[in-house]
């Protein structure tokens, strides 16, 4: 069996993402949807519903009166917050383990995923780009391929590392050369298998902009920039380091100058404690 056949078998063994995510994203991205529509979709999943209500009533939010339904929770905290809670709860299991090949301890990948998602949404809001929930979710799940590729990276680490150190190839290019597939290709396959929209699959597959034509896709460029910002902040950076390519054209495409990136970093660092506290309760 080739490495790729083994990897395909592994991704088939992944636990599926909760089904509620798909109709939820479709509803959130539809401007005609009401808060009641969204609450109705979430309630369809009793485990997620109970968990969202429990989190809404946790000390973190300090509500005076407890929420008893998703509708209450959305009224008290806002629909956006509730939708993000569902997306986080749906993804946490898949991303919270440790990755030995990438040298990430348990929780490091998860914190990085959530930070990427929060930053991507922050940039999308700032640039008035729609599909914010899709961008948030794509940024959250973009490195799902690493969770499967990890064992292979661990076994081939010496070869990958020497390619990166000696031949000026990115870590991802080295994954492809040594293992035969990189973590973005695997991520795209997983997203497709989980029945995400073609748009989501495209963003996850191209989040390092290895295909130049993707630079013009604003949603993908936003997720890419959020990832670059996380790398600069040292978040989720493991054995792969910062050995990915920087595409200045993507910044031009988004109209982001270096100082805008610095401001985004400052803004995120400012609210990082809040994000960390949220991670404790979700």
């Amino acid at each position: 069996m080739t490495a790729i056949q083994v990897l395909i078998r592994e991704i088939k063994n992944l636990k599926p993402i909760p089904a509620v995510v798909h109709p939820l994203l479709a509803a959130v991205e539809n401007p005609k949807s009401s808060m009641e529509d969204i609450a109705g979709i979430i309630q369809y999943d009793p485990a997620i519903t109970a968990s969202v209500i429990r989190t809404t009533n946790s000390a973190f939010f300090g509500l005076k009166q407890p929420a008893e339904s998703i509708k209450d929770a959305a009224n008290l905290l806002g629909t956006d917050q509730i939708v993000e809670m569902v997306l986080l709860k749906s993804s946490a299991k898949a991303l919270s383990g440790s990755q030995k090949g990438y040298d990430l301890h348990a929780g490091a990948m998860w914190k990085y995923a959530v930070s990427s998602a929060v930053i991507a949404k922050q940039i999308a809001t700032q640039l008035a780009i729609p599909h914010r929930s899709t961008i948030f979710t794509a940024a959250l799940l973009k490195d799902i391929g690493k969770t499967v590729l990890d064992k292979f990276v661990q076994d081939a680490f010496g070869k990958i590392q020497s390619l990166v150190a000696e031949q000026n190839v990115s870590f991802m290019e080295a994954e492809k050369k040594v293992i035969g597939v990189d973590h973005t290709e695997l991520g795209g396959m997983i997203a497709k298998m989980w029945k995400f929209s073609p748009r989501m699959v495209k963003i996850i597959r191209n989040h390092h902009l290895s295909d130049d034509s993707m630079i013009q896709d604003k949603d993908t460029a936003v997720v890419y920039l959020a990832d670059c910002i996380c790398m600069m902040m040292g978040m989720g950076v493991g054995a792969d380091g910062l050995a990915y390519r920087f595409h200045e054209y993507a910044m031009e495409e988004l109209g982001m100058e270096a100082d805008d990136i610095s401001r985004t970093i400052a803004e995120f660092a400012y609210k990082m404690q809040e994000v960390e506290a949220l991670l404790q309760v979700v």
Partner: protein
């Protein structure tokens, strides 16, 4: 006791049992200073070179920026007995993404901001492990002034 310096944060000490560590620097700078006579020092973990991009955030979180964080690290170490002429300076971090050039290279700008400030104040860097595309963690032992570096994917090693 082990003190952890978060992102945009600083810790100092003159207690022999203490060690100070900052994790996962990326393009940020981990600046460690230490006076071997006073056995006092600390680590600053700053993210950005220049506070002029957001004065309000610099007031709330001065350790986020080179220009507002570095003077505080020195002042606080002086208050623990350190003297400027005995202080040893160690620098780590300032890594960059491949092909990240010019003004977009925040790692290099973080390092240049520090160099400029130290030069103006006649302070030399004893040792540095900066740049490249790797992620680093720095640890300072207060009793000895020893500095340890861990690069992701490798083991921790003493370098000073």
């Amino acid at each position: 006791m082990k003190h952890i310096v978060g992102v945009a944060d600083m810790k100092t000490s003159n207690l022999a049992g203490d060690s100070i560590v900052t994790y996962s620097l990326g393009s940020c700078i981990g600046l460690a200073i230490y006076d071997p006579i006073a056995r006092a020092g600390g680590i600053l973990h700053y993210m950005l070179p220049d506070s002029s991009i957001d004065k309000e955030k610099a007031r709330a979180k001065p350790y986020m920026f080179a220009d507002t964080g570095i003077p505080r690290l020195f002042k606080e170490s002086y208050s623990l007995g350190a003297k400027k002429n005995r202080i040893k300076v160690f620098v780590a971090g300032g890594a960059e993404i491949l092909d990240q050039q010019g003004f977009f290279n925040i790692g290099k700008r973080n390092y240049m901001a520090l160099k400029k400030m130290l030069f103006r104040n006649n302070v030399l860097i004893e040792k540095q492990v900066v740049g490249g595309n790797v992620n680093r963690t720095v640890r300072l032992e207060i009793a000895t002034g020893h500095i340890y570096i861990k690069t992701s994917g490798s083991r921790e090693a003493r370098i000073l």
